[in-house]
Amino acid sequence: MVSKALVAASTKPMILSILRGGENYGYQIIQRVKEISGGKLEWADGMLYPVLHRLEKDGLVTTQWKLYEGRMRKYYKITEAGKKELAEERKQWLSVHKVFLELWEPIPSFE
């Protein structure tokens, strides 16, 4: 399982990355993360929405209510600003990733 602090830090770029592939709604976003991480990364249902709202407030995503099988569903879509933000985040994560790759070569034992 991934630690809470790491989850909190990575939520934003993950959501933006998922939305880069097309508009999506809350439940589906959570499912996608679960799927990709093989269940190692699980978001609490309640935490996703405040983050999504925050993103909306910051202008990184736009939203739209849509009708689906007689129910209302709120879809999120990434904006240009969101794409820029994602590029920036990506740069940062990659630099962190690069540092770890250097440090952990050859793969040290963690046991």
Binding site: D45, Y49, P50, H53, R71
Partner: protein, 874 residues
């Protein structure tokens, strides 16, 4: 059975309880929940199990809102940095929000506050509008500052030779115009036949002096030629419809003669704020009356246009006096000239033979005072209510201060609130004024412009005033509120004194004003009642009067009288040359053994032998005129006052004569008991009655039985038509004409009564709200007292005592003030009721009772509350 729909609804309900979760958010969570449940049931779970699991995974509301708060506030990426300049805008928006929330939250309080204020301000605005109208009289004349009316200290009219003489002798006089009543005339054309009594003779200079709007015709020549006539649009429409009347002919029938007039001008209708009004003007050169070319007959309204440069009016009047002494050689002639500024005539002139009834400046002062008092009561209400409510906002203030609010910011906030409220009140009031003006016009017979928007400046002034009031009435509550100590309030150790000194003073003031108004309207009512029911010395009921109009009647008086007398419902018939209460001539006369200077000025009634019986007057000495005694045509009957002023204990042996009418010395054969034939504002004046030659008679007074009035009148009309075919029959009731003397008093009384009621209502509104606050603050005290065994009566006594004492003090202030004011007011009446203590006692009692009824219900309700309820949360 598990009901998914119901369970979801319940789940949503619990979410709604959390204030940080908005509707849209909950909606989204629901969608999430449903997706989850769908997934689980697709994997073979039961609906119930799926719901439970999904619900659990989403978490409880606490957890959700916590997450929400965390992301919202601690992400820190866009923290707002506090800065006073940009902050003030955010704060102002917050202030508005809070102000509207306060209005919404305390509905009854806000309603009382706004309604009381709006009612008071509406009254004020209406009266201000009325006063403004009264002050605007004759202001529309371009030359208004240089136009003066030439009068004497007694008469509004002067002889016709004065004004032209002045123009020749005094360079200060640029021009003049003279006017005289044309008299009632019958106008007849193809479609219409009607009497018009609103015409005037006027000099050709009329339009040089006055600025009435001449639509058609030439201002310089319109009134030059004889038999020229200028008519108003109203009359023109009546006669010619939409056609242009210029050059057309109008025929007047005066009794038996007829005369054509050529229309030389058309003017707009006379503005309502003109001190004189007319339907047509006939050129003065047409005037052939016997008093034309005269130095002594007061017949003409004369207006002088003076030079622009500052003319010393006092000096000019004195010089005119000296000049007149040179022109009029009669040693007994003794009059003093007055020059009245045109714009001050309407409110300041009360001479004999005025154009119409002028308003009195004291009435304007009276209404202005009442308006101000009502406004003050409303403002006091506002201050008291807001201050009382302050306690409830202590926590808000404390919190704001803790968060760094400065005192000046708090004052700004609270002032803003009162100003906002004032603006709301202003809107309501202006709407109300607009709606009320038509019925006010109706009620007190005014012609106020019904469209307020015609006076943008006036509206602006009122708006300025209400902003000022908003600030003024907000200052005290703002200071009180902003002075709260946050630490004491938040710790709960703050004490709010309910014995506020200023609050008490304000309540006393309010009720002093209300008592004052109640007492005043009582006395005014009593006086008017007295005036209406006072024995006038004659019986004005069931007397019909009408002008005789033409020779068809006046030449056949006896036959006309006999024809009328045949009807058994006609009790008595009298012909006169003038009517009591109408125009009575002030003509010099001689009294036996008296110097001319000692002869009192007397009124005249030119009557016949039936006059005294028709009017039900009482002869206290001597006898009535007798038709069979030939010498009675030369004799006189006088009233008590005339006998007294001549100093004659036994006037029956004395003699009078009137050189003016070529009447030789005649005996006084009777004395009638004094009767009031003019307004009771005036003292009874000396009066002399005599019988004139037959051809002087111009009016009939007929006493009829009260029953079958309409058939009697139609009988008179039929009889009239047998003698006279051209002139239609018109008549009036004497008592109605008489009541017109009091119309002003009557309408003033109605207005004052109404305003008093409103003032009382606003004050009670305030008292009621105050009581509600007092009770809220003392709920616990009452509860404890009840537990300790206090009876209902003692609790009611305890709470009401404080207020009753204030009201008694208020009454103690109101009584002397009212006494002083009413004594002055009564001075204006020659016959008046006395100022008995009863009026004051009754007035005070009423204000006490009204105040007590206002608060008693609330007190009893509070005192009846179960102490368990009021102390539960302690």
């Amino acid at each position: 059975m598990f009901d998914l729909k119901k369970e979801i609804t319940n789940w949503k309900k619990t979410l709604h309880k959390n204030p940080s979760l908005e509707d849209g958010y909950i909606e989204e969570l629901e969608s999430h929940l449903r997706d989850k449940i769908e997934d689980y049931t697709n994997n073979g779970m039961s609906k119930e199990g799926a719901f439970k699991k999904a619900k659990e995974e989403i978490g409880d509301t606490e957890k959700i809102s916590e997450e929400f708060y965390m992301t919202d506030n601690l992400s820190g990426s866009k923290k707002i940095l506090w800065n006073e300049k940009s902050g003030i805008l955010i704060l102002a928006a917050n202030y508005f929000k809070i102000a509207f929330r306060m209005i919404k939250k305390h509905k009854s309080h806000s309603f009382i506050n706004i309604a009381g204020f709006a009612l008071g301000f509406t009254c004020f605005a209406l009266i201000a509008y009325f006063v403004k109208f009264q002050l605007s009289y004759d202001n529309f004349h371009v030359n208004k500052d240089n136009i003066y009316r030439l009068t004497t200290t007694k008469y509004a009219t002067v002889p016709d030779l004065w004004a032209p003489g002045l123009k020749e002798s005094f360079p200060q006089v640029r021009s003049f115009v003279r006017m005289q009543h044309f008299g009632e005339t019958l106008i007849e054309n193809k479609t219409n036949k009607f009497y018009d009594k609103d015409g005037l003779y006027a000099d050709s200079t009329f339009f040089d002096i006055f600025s009435f709007n001449l639509v058609e015709g030439n201002a310089r020549t319109a009134l030059a030629e004889p038999y020229s006539i200028v008519i108003t649009k109203q009359l023109s429409e009546k006669l010619f419809g939409k056609e242009n009347p210029l050059g057309k002919t109008i025929t007047f029938f005066d009794g038996d003669s007829k005369q054509n007039y050529k229309v030389t001008g058309l003017i707009n209708n006379i503005p309502a704020n003109s001190h004189f009004t007319f339907s047509f003007l006939v050129s003065e050169s047409t005037n052939k009356a016997w008093w034309v070319n005269n130095w002594k007959m007061h017949q003409f309204y004369s207006y002088l246009l003076l030079q622009n440069n500052n003319v010393n009016i006092k000096e000019l009047a004195t010089n005119i006096d000296t000049w007149l002494k040179g022109k009029i050689t009669d040693p007994n002639w003794n009059e003093t000239v007055r020059l009245q500024k045109l714009t001050s005539i309407h409110l300041h002139s009360h001479l004999r033979s005025e154009f119409g009834v002028n308003e009195d400046i004291s009435t304007i002062y009276l209404f202005s005072m009442i308006a101000l008092l009502i406004l003050l009561i409303a403002i006091v209400n506002y201050i008291n209510l807001t201050t009382a409510k302050a306690v409830n906002r202590a926590k808000e203030v404390a919190l704001r201060k803790t968060m760094g609010s400065k005192r000046s910011q708090l004052i700004f906030q609270f002032l803003g609130e009162t100003v906002l409220l004032s603006v709301i009140v202003f809107g309501i009031s202006m709407l109300a004024v607009e709606l009320i003006i038509p019925s006010l016009n109706n009620l007190i017979q005014l012609k106020l412009d019904q469209n307020l928007l015609n006076f943008p400046l006036f509206i602006l002034q009122l708006f300025g005033l209400i902003l000022f009031i908003g600030l003024l009435s907000g200052i005290y509550p703002a200071l009180v509120l902003s002075a709260f100590q946050p630490s004491a309030i938040l710790k709960g150790t703050a004490k709010f004194s309910s014995k506020n000194f200023l609050k008490r003073i304000l309540v006393i003031f309010q009720f002093a004003v209300t008592s004052f108004l109640i007492i005043s309207s009582f006395l005014i009512y009593k006086q008017m009642n007295y005036v209406n029911s006072k024995n006038l010395g004659f019986n004005k009921d069931h007397i019909i009067t009408f002008p005789l109009r033409s020779a068809g009647i006046t030449k056949n008086l006896d036959a006309f009288r006999n024809a009328l007398a045949a009807n058994s419902n006609i009790i008595s018939i009298s012909f006169t040359a003038n009517l009591p209460g109408g125009g009575d001539w002030g003509i010099p006369y001689q009294a036996e053994g008296k110097n001319q200077a000692d002869v009192p000025e007397a009124r005249w009634l030119v009557v016949d032998q039936n006059f005294i019986s028709t009017y039900g007057m009482k002869i206290i000495k001597g006898r009535n005129f007798n038709k069979s005694i030939e010498s009675d045509k030369n004799n006189y009957i006088i009233n008590e006052t005339e006998a007294k002023e001549l100093g004659w204990k036994n006037p029956l042996s004395k003699r009078l004569s009137i050189n003016y009418f070529n009447r030789k010395w005649g005996n006084i054969i009777g004395v009638v008991k004094d009767f009031n034939y003019r307004s009771l504002h005036k003292r009874i004046e000396p009066l002399v009655m005599f019988i004139p030659p037959d051809n002087w008679y111009s009016n009939a007074s007929i006493k009829v039985r009260g029953s079958g009035l309409s058939s009697t009148i139609s009988y008179i009309k039929r009889t009239w038509e047998k003698f006279e075919t051209r002139n239609p029959f018109t008549f009036s009731f004497l008592d109605e004409e008489f009541n017109k003397l009091y119309i002003d008093d009557q309408k003033n009384m109605e207005m004052i009564t109404m305003l008093t009621a409103i003032a009382v209502f606003i004050a009670c509104l305030g008292l009621y709200a105050m009581m509600v606050h007092t009770l809220t603050n003392r709920t616990k005290e009452i509860g404890i007292r009840k537990i300790l065994g206090a009876k209902l009566s003692s609790i009611v006594g305890l709470i009401s005592k404080e207020f009753i004492i204030l009201i008694i003090i208020a009454n103690l202030i109101a009584c002397p003030a009212a006494y002083y004011f009413l004594k002055n007011w009564l001075q204006d009446f020659a016959y008046r009721v006395s100022l008995t203590p009863l009026i004051f006692i009754a007035g005070c009692m009423i204000s006490l009772v009204v105040a007590f009824t206002t608060i008693i219900y609330k007190i009893i309700k509070a005192a009846n509350t179960n102490p368990v309820n009021s102390l539960r949360y302690e």
